[in-house]
Symmetry: D2
Subunit: 402 residues, 4 copies
């Protein structure tokens, strides 16, 4: 079964790259984003470096340069190619990277056959697959950013996108809180940053029944939301004043003053029914302040999320549908007001693998839920995603709290 | 009595500037620091703008340009002189700024005489005085930074500084925690960011009996602490790799490999008994990790601090003395692992005065306690100081936790 | 015959791209360099925009976006895609750009058939072909820079490169100078910056018989040439002190202290016999000062060059061979001490085409001769190449003067 | 007599500083400009380092740190304080620097008494005085730049400035040119960059009878001069497009669309009769192109200047008066199209003193004449001033040529 999972996840990465040309897979549009080809190689490197290198008899790397070339940030592994120059790696070619994948896959499957019952191996393989699923989401958000730089505005998927049905009014749902348990509850897989499960006091609160829509956010803009410093964190206002922030990342004002939005389906008229997405924490926070609300803490969000059903999306968030607490998963990652910090008693794994999460626990903020780009089966209530407050190229959205 | 406080605090600012020349008072060594003259003017501007302008009959500003010139960051007040160019304001002269102070003081005293019983006025005046005390600490840390840029290494105070007596060994003191009350308890003054008092769950923890010393930190350096990426947050390691971080801010390696330290008393041999100071959060965190400990959360710190006595220091932190929990106040501000965030239910004051704290609650970290440069009477257990993780020019130090 | 030239030059650009993958043709390694695909498109854009658009009946652009996308720097034509983002244009694909070339070529050939006798048209077509030849040289130097960023060090041409025979000793050849005529003499094609031919007084001078070799330049390095500020222009020394300049651009120091050089044939041991290349003006000037010589002025160089034979090279400069004044053409462009300035009475052409040369006549320096990457038939004695003093990615070398 | 010159020049520097406060003398408004106090110290350092250190028996420096602190750019002398941090040197105080001046002056006078007949000494002292005169001009332009940053717009001189009488129309005066002698003719002092005198061929040309006025330049702005890329060098247009260049440095547009100009006499209404000043080479070149003229070469300027009378100015350029070739000296430095390059056969002096001129001969442009801030007696026809093309804080102006 792990073997089946392995093949399914590995196959899906190639499937995501299928609509793209070799050139699309090679370019890098900013240091924060990586080329598709690099994602395909790095997720393979993870298995080769952390599993095959340790366990394969007579280990010989597929290519002597790849250990450095496709190391993302593991100082414990050694040197790494500079992040901002990943787009210059026109060699190895995409075909060579696919050959690299095939070779490592075959060796991994042989290893799984031979040592399948080994729990430590199974845990590492599972980590590798979860890691690859995280990169699958990045493949979509990174290539979206790349295609958005092109004046021709090519879509990742040529199907187009029709307007969605308007959602019902936004309501606030009350929660009691109290001294609650936060963190992974022990069923299935989790990353180390969801541990240890621990007690936290949560005062009574209310959470919005759905995400903020494009239509609601457009009203904020028209009302002068980007012109009133009183609505903004000081750092956010600096970015507004410099012109960096003036609307969500992929909104494009037309000459008739209407908006269009660049999506993975290409550029389309802004759909007022769908959730607003590709916002910084600064914008989410300013919007919340404008309407007399605030962002939730991650403990509040997690407490409420136990009631929510986990759904998967596809390429762009859909409008809310149904009653009660909706869109907790499968539409947009939801900014919280919680900085990314270790849970009480948190300890990273020893060795290079311990660099996975812990060393990033400063100056980032937690996002909860999942997005339309998150692979099916990857989300859970205790999941902690994290990005800097200024980051906008993920499918981020706004869940209000009070 | 408010009148006496007013005169005492206002007088102390001038007293702090007394050892300095007009040139010392005008220069600005980095955008984060301000000239002494600017501090003297801005603290006066606070009273003129937020009190006299609103309450003085036939209000006429002392100088028509000062409203913009000495506005620090209050967008609600209007335009402001660019922060990085405060050192270019050779006019008004120091004498003119002193005349500005004398004029505003006289008008404030007249107002206090006339409307002394007004509680809202008293609250604003008290806020203005607490504000000025914060700037008094900055006057010392800013001028220290300025003098440190000078190859001649001039001291602020010519008295010199003798080595202190070695402190006892560092011990850990256990605390039970539990569901505790955090935030201002209602006696005396507090800033709005200490409110509202609220419940928080604190798991059992231990806190170091004193701050980490120079001698202990030097051992960390000699052991290769700045060469091992496994000890560092990723952002911190980037700053180590770029050469920005290699030792505490004012340590200077000598040709014989010994250390000297620049202090407000000039450059002296590093005293191993005194607490290490002028560190970033990255360094404090790396040191803690190196010795198997961690930094406290602000709730842990505040819970423990209720037992501690509040003392004031003078120009440089002294070595720990005595038993139990020492150096909570009066030596160095202590980095916590808590990001600066609003307490549950926090609401800033309406209007420009509400920009005092709230808009800075992102990408900064809380420091607790007080330092040798904090004015007497200004500290309390619930006080929340905050700076970016990279900031080193304050008297910051390390309190370990477990 | 113009028709034949047209087909030959156009064909050669595709021939230069043939050894490269689609990914190689798309990436951009720095703002100064452009992707191969962009060169292929821009040289086509030149014909479409400056000729077809003006002369074709019922002109319809091949693609409505290309006019902006492939405009390099002609403000007179209108908007242009940002130079630093040319590498993000994964669309149009290389195949689409080849289709663009084929379409424009067919239309151009029809036009030439119809209006072949028109002298103005012939002049514009010739300019377009000379323009394309300039880009052919850039295709090689730009892709060399790209491949050099790759730790795998892939060659453009897999043939390898054998050491060349040592040249004879460097001699100085005397020239009388006098009141001489400088500039294009009227036979064949020239760019407008070679006009008008004019008188200039040249004092007696001597020119080195060949270019400086790798072996000679290595001796300069070993003698501490990069450590002595007295040898350097102040700007150059700033770049040495910052670490930017430490050896020619593509030299790589090995652990045994020997040098290897990255070439279009891949990385090879440094050949002491071949000319040193890929140097800034600062380095050329420092080397000349070190050996008691100087760089020539462009008038001196041109005066001497009338005696020299024009040869073409291939992918890497070869060692000098023969007697007298050698390597004036076909090895390395030769830095002169002359800033790029208009000749007395120079006037650019009216309209956008006048932006070709004139607007760059500030803060650049003239290079004379031609390089191993210059297309055959493109060089002449009056040719003025120009680059900023810091530029190193062209095949630049050192001709000494006294 | 040298002794009298010494005392007069040295005295004049103090005289220039007299209207300024200690704070005015300490601040630095940009890396290109230096504090007045630094100028006073550095010009003294020149005599101490290049003369007293070599010739004084039992030489003891006035202060051990000054050799580094007040070294401008002489690598041959050793380390130097970073240029951009000169404004942080609040110590030594202005009084200490004056004491330094008095001490070195006394020692210099003793030396002159003892060794007055020594020609080498006399040459060095003369160089030191000419050097100090250059800094006297910088004292005025640097403090003008500093005061201009202050929103209060304080004048250096409180006298005010009345409108001047309109000059006559601009005429062009013809010159024959020919094979002429350029460079210092041997009478009096010159800097090494004016040597050797050499032959140069100058084609017939015409020079404007006076400088371009504010009124004429304002017409260029109103006609859209800063909006038409066809008028600009590419580098200049980049600076226009980025907003850096929109009018001469100290022009300030009023709400009623009129102009005011910041001068050393404070801010005044723009006087259309006076010459336009504080322009970059890019602006001078664009203006010339706009009116169908060009900038002169330095050889043309020098050839013409032999007929001109040398006058001195005072704090701001005056309107042209009189017939023939006017304003060659004493109003504004005049941008030429000549890059700053060595004359044929130029050789700098050996040792650190040789760094005076030669190492700056790249990427700068020659300005000819003198300005209202140039000390009397310092100007001559062969004088070569030089600045980067973007520099605007000197009194630069436009002399047209054809």
């Amino acid at each position: 079964m792990l073997r089946d999972d392995f093949q399914a996840v590995r196959q899906r990465s190639l499937h995501l790259a299928a609509p793209l040309s070799n050139e699309d897979c090679c370019a890098q549009s900013m240091p924060d984003a990586s080329p598709i080809k690099w994602h395909l190689a790095h997720t393979t490197w993870f298995f080769e470096t952390f599993i095959l290198e340790a366990r394969e008899r007579d280990f010989r790397p597929f290519h002597s340069a790849f250990r450095v070339l496709f190391n993302s940030y593991y100082n414990g592994v050694g040197a790494k190619h500079p992040r901002a120059q990943r787009g210059l790696l026109t060699r190895p070619s995409l075909d060579e990277v696919k050959a690299y994948r095939a070779d490592v896959d075959a060796r991994m499957l042989r290893l799984l056959e031979a040592e399948g019952g080994d729990a430590a191996l199974a845990a590492l393989v599972t980590l590798g697959l979860q890691h690859e699923q995280q990169h699958q989401e990045l493949m979509l958000t990174d290539v979206k950013h790349l295609l958005a730089q092109n004046p021709i505005a090519p879509g990742y998927d040529g199907e187009g996108m029709a307007p969605d049905s308007p959602p019902g009014p936004l309501a606030f749902i009350d929660f009691d809180g109290g001294l609650v348990e936060i963190g992974f509850d022990g069923r299935g897989f989790c990353f180390d940053n969801e541990l240890p499960r621990h007690r936290s006091y949560v005062a009574p609160f209310a959470l919005a029944s759905r995400l903020v829509t494009n239509g609601e956010y457009a009203a904020f803009i028209e009302a002068g939301g980007y012109r009133d410093p009183a609505l903004w964190l000081a750092e956010g206002w600096d970015r507004v004043a410099s012109g960096e922030l003036a609307a969500p990342l992929y909104w494009r004002r037309q000459e008739d003053n209407s908006w269009r939005e660049f999506t993975l389906h290409g550029e389309v008229p802004l759909d007022p029914a769908r959730p607003v997405t590709h916002l910084s924490l600064y914008e989410a926070d300013a919007y919340a302040r404008w309407c007399g609300a605030r962002l939730p803490t991650e403990a509040e969000w997690e407490f409420a999320a136990r009631l929510a059903s986990i759904e998967a999306g596809r390429l762009h968030p859909e409008a809310a549908a149904g009653q009660g607490l909706t869109q907790m998963f499968g539409a947009c990652w939801q900014w919280t007001s919680s900085s990314y910090a270790p849970y009480p008693g948190y300890a990273p794994a020893p060795g290079a693998i311990g660099e996975y999460n812990g060393k990033f626990m400063v100056n980032q903020y937690v996002l909860r839920g999942s997005s339309c780009a998150t692979p099916g089966g990857h989300a859970r209530a205790s999941y902690r995603n994290f990005f800097p407050a200024y980051a906008r190229w993920q499918f981020t959205g706004i869940r209000l709290a009070r």
